[in-house]
Symmetry: C2
Subunit: 255 residues, 2 copies
């Protein structure tokens, strides 16, 4: 099984939030989306953290929806004045921002009637033609317009939304990976590794150094949609590690 | 003290690494850079996670160095075949990739003589005209070319490099912030908050909902370079929280 361009499905993630750019909070959504997309055979090729600014969001959405098969945004769809993602996405698509009657009904059902104020009704505003993305945690939905999925920023809600929309995504060949860990400095194995990469051009060999307990080591990750190609390259990399007098340790939890 | 455009110094971060895009690892550098830049009065306006691909890296470097005052890259400067950041940055600037004699001397000094192989010498390759960025952890330096700083991806090394280069950066007005936490749903305080934002156009009020111990709450962050403007807005926001029957809790550790 070889990789054909047509089998490769791509995605970008836009993390919308001044709070991540200010260093106030650590993004907690990207890794979940990256891993989840990978399982579906969708390759996350870019992620951007951008400011709560309508121009900036609209520009990033348009750049990414043209460049990738899918775009996922997180953050900025709540009821407050700084939640401007929906308006920005409507602008990016050149469509009106309209109040979705289905979401209005949902809000009236979810909140006590006299608490459905104008701020909460703002959460029903979506680009014309948007399709809802269910929120099984706190009800108020996200939405999809063409290849762009607009999700919440609160991690528990974002995860539920993503898990609930997976069936709408069409994946390509899932990327598989296997990892060997060696207690060797990267510089010692680098040449053998480059040779292994040259002998196995159908896989991608990544080398990630680490320092633990005062010793340097390296995680060698072999990735490909093809399990047999991975096995062949891993055998080769493992032999190289042993040739250098070290042990090749299979990383747990890797497929 | 008002904010003038001339006082605003901006930055972007490029996290270079397939391992972050595959979900294999969680980025551990962005928040450190974001917070450190903020303390220097430099506003991080964008961060991108991009693939280990020379074209992609060169394009992102060129887009960001034109758009922002400073650009920081992390990752891809080691000795292995997948470390291509230096070559990509040289290409972005249209200059040659040359072996820096100072770094070669450093490598010969740091490693046993017979272990300074071609792979390790690759770490001495930098764009022509680059200035070294010191690495107090494992010696092998990063580099600066014009407004672009190329740093390691291993967090302990990245941090040491960033801390060591801070004196080269010229900051603007530091952004200050103060946070009040209220055990209120965002939708309840949204309207009062929008009114407070309208009364205090010189600050930025951010609203970040959370769910803890089964109850919803919100962190309200007031940001501005001007401490007096923050105090005035915080007093206003605090009064609104109390008007709604909740307690306004000062977040610890905030300035």
């Amino acid at each position: 099984m070889a990789t054909h361009a047509a089998d490769i499905v791509t995605a970008a993630v836009l993390v919308i939030g001044n709070e991540v750019l200010s260093g106030r909070t650590q993004d907690a959504n990207l890794q979940y989306l990256a891993a989840g997309l990978g399982e579906l055979g969708i390759r996350l090729l870019e992620a951007r953290v951008i400011a709560d600014d309508e121009d900036v969001i609209a520009r990033a959405v348009n750049e990414c929806r043209a460049r990738y098969d899918y775009v996922f945004t997180t953050g900025g769809i709540g009821p407050t004045h700084d939640d401007i993602t929906s308006a920005a996405v409507a602008r990016a698509f050149g469509v009106a921002l309209v109040r979705n009657p289905q979401v209005v009904a949902l809000l009236n059902d979810h909140y006590a009637p006299d608490t459905v104020n104008e701020a909460r009704l703002k959460m029903a505003e979506m680009p014309e033609g948007a399709r809802l993305v269910e929120n099984s945690v706190s009800r108020v939905p996200g939405f999809q317009i063409e290849n762009v999925f607009v999700l919440a920023g609160v991690p528990s809600i974002m995860r539920a939304m993503f898990d609930g929309l997976k069936h709408r995504l069409e994946g390509g060949l899932p990327m598989l990976s296997e990892t060997l860990v060696a207690r060797l400095p990267e510089g010692v194995i680098a040449e053998g590794l480059a040779a292994a990469q040259a002998r196995h051009p159908d896989v991608e060999i990544g080398s990630y150094p680490f320092y633990r307990e005062g010793r340097s080591g390296v995680s060698l990750v072999v990735r490909s949609p093809d399990a047999a190609s991975i096995s062949a390259a891993i055998a080769d990399v493992g032999a190289e590690i042993r040739r250098l007098g070290a042990e090749a340790i299979d990383e747990e939890g890797d497929s």
